[in-house]
Symmetry: C2
Subunit: 346 residues, 2 copies
């Protein structure tokens, strides 16, 4: 287990998408985030107190979370130096990057000398099975997207919160480093050996018999030329009854690419349903989730209405407007059993 | 590098598909395969001399190749014991299984004591990039399939041989353990971390300017619920100009599964073309390759004719009947440049 509370590391990041791990933690687990560490040059903030390593330790922080991400997941030399200094000050280090903390000689040496711990959240669990595609009991929802970083984790977490609030049994199933740090468990899907993508998800979301829902965090996009394999295996392993399509209407180019536009939303939705049908023939789309942070509120509401009409699906910005329309539709399409309803209205 | 010649290990395997690594080596690199090691109970043979470990060493063998495979890629305890005995006799060990030789205490200890080497062919190379999807120069052919183990590697190797025989520049690009042992290099795609599937293939098959062909070994199937993620990333990373669909007409159930039939061939072909178009919009199917080993010759020929008529594509059993019809079609659809033709007819 990773010791809390956390100090969240922004360093010299200057890209909002690059700090999504830190922001996700600040938003969904504010009670364990004491402050943020950032360079003078960093134009971004999570709105948390800005603390030095020593100040954070004095305030009770236990772990520095490298809440940064970049395509490829490599550790910047400046980040390595900062992490070593944080250990000297008394903090453990947690990272979700592909490049492992323990593989950095400076960090391994500092950890050995100071007794501080290095947590590589992206180490996949050993002994993963291959997928079977056999239908297993339980209801599952998976978020999918037109691109990476369009709100799949946020949407899934918002749905989990709203569902739990209604008293319905449900579990958030994390598939990325931020989700794992938030949930306390999960599988770092992008680091799983390719043969085990679907099997890892079958294991992450096992048989359930309580009429509740597994809400599974999506990854990548079927239309991202680097990551569509991950998204495909995730669709097959999840066997979703329901999918929610996530989209950022301000995105002009696919994440990390200079020559590729995001796909048409209808094309993308149809492709996701087609791939999902291999292991979940009755899969249905039950909502659209937009990240409207680039739009004025009236524009955002108008866009959601237009999309809802065009697709015949509830459309909302989960973070800004809530997920109630999607949740309502889900519960109409998949009514709770009498037993679960009794639980939900208790 | 792995020392040759090889002794090929069959052990107590009783499943022809399970020994496909050993058979692939015996067929495509007979000059480096001295013999086979098998238990009395093993009903299979590669037609090579049956040798004990001591006899193999006396005959000059340098490495025991664990030429066996199973779903999940685990090492059987009996195999571990045999490998340790082989090392005592003087042989290095090479394996393409997921479970690493070096992670087996008995083997690690025996290797350290005897000075023999353990080669885990499935260790992916470090520092892989993520995919870009950007079009790169060069012509590429990828084999795809209705299932795992339907002849993708054989078809690719047969195409490479036939093309080289015509004097056309071409390279076999290995993506599985057998292919890597045959080619001497490649990427063990099923062990690559999920985020890097497409990027690994972009690296494996780089830009080429000689008007020749990269012939890329396919993996899995878009319709296998465990491995479709691998196949998807491979299609995107390969950017194939041409695909050849491989199929085993005797296959009743998908490899390793008890409840799933192989897909319809036309559906499967259309799905592969649709997925490939994300990074190679002009991709074309240029042939069908059947594994007809379960059929009489007249039946096999009749089936190939029927399929060719139904799909409007050349259809052959590459191993039994050669790949000339597919190669002819390829060269009609993608004519060689004058310079390459001069080379080819020299």
């Amino acid at each position: 287990m990773i010791a809390t509370p956390y100090l969240l590391y922004l360093g010299h990041a200057d890209d909002e998408i690059g700090i999504k791990t830190a922001r996700g933690l600040a938003v969904f687990r504010p009670e364990i985030c004491l402050g943020e560490f950032r360079d003078d040059a960093c134009p971004l903030t999570l709105g948390l107190p800005r603390l030095s390593f020593a100040e954070a330790v004095t305030a009770g922080a236990r772990t520095l979370v490298l809440g940064i991400a970049n395509s490829g997941g490599m550790l910047d030399p400046a980040v390595v130096r900062d992490a070593a200094r944080a250990m000297e000050a008394g903090l453990d280090i947690a990272s979700g990057l592909h490049q492992r903390l323990k593989d950095e000689p400076l960090l391994a040496e500092t950890a050995a000398r100071t007794g501080r711990l290095l947590h590589d959240v992206r180490d996949p669990p050993p002994g993963l099975p291959t997928g079977t595609g056999s239908k297993r009991p339980g209801k599952r929802l998976l978020t999918v997207g037109t691109d990476c970083s369009v709100g799949k984790m946020y949407t899934t977490l918002c749905l989990q919160r709203a569902m739990a609030k209604r008293g319905i049994a449900c579990d958030f199933r994390a598939t990325g480093q931020t989700g794992i740090l938030i949930a306390g468990s999960g599988v770092p899907l992008d680091a799983v050996p390719a043969d085990f993508i679907a099997g890892a998800i079958e294991q992450l979301s096992p048989t359930r018999h309580d009429d509740g829902w597994d809400l599974i965090e999506g990854q990548g996009s079927l239309f991202h030329p680097a990551f569509a394999g991950v998204s495909t295996g995730l669709l097959h392993g999840a066997q979703p009854d329901a999918i929610v399509m996530c989209h950022d209407p301000s995105r002009r180019l696919m994440r990390g690419l200079s020559d590729r536009e995001p796909p048409n939303l209808a094309t993308c939705l149809a492709a996701n349903l087609a791939v999902a049908r291999l292991t979940s023939p009755a899969v249905r789309a039950i909502g659209l989730a937009l990240n409207t942070s680039s739009l004025e509120e009236t524009e955002a509401l108008a866009l959601c209405r237009r999309m809802a009409d065009a697709f015949g699906l509830p459309c909302t910005d989960p973070f800004r407007m809530g997920v109630e329309p999607i949740l309502d539709r889900l519960l109409v399409e998949y009514p709770l059993s009498v037993a679960a309803l009794a639980g939900a209205t208790r």
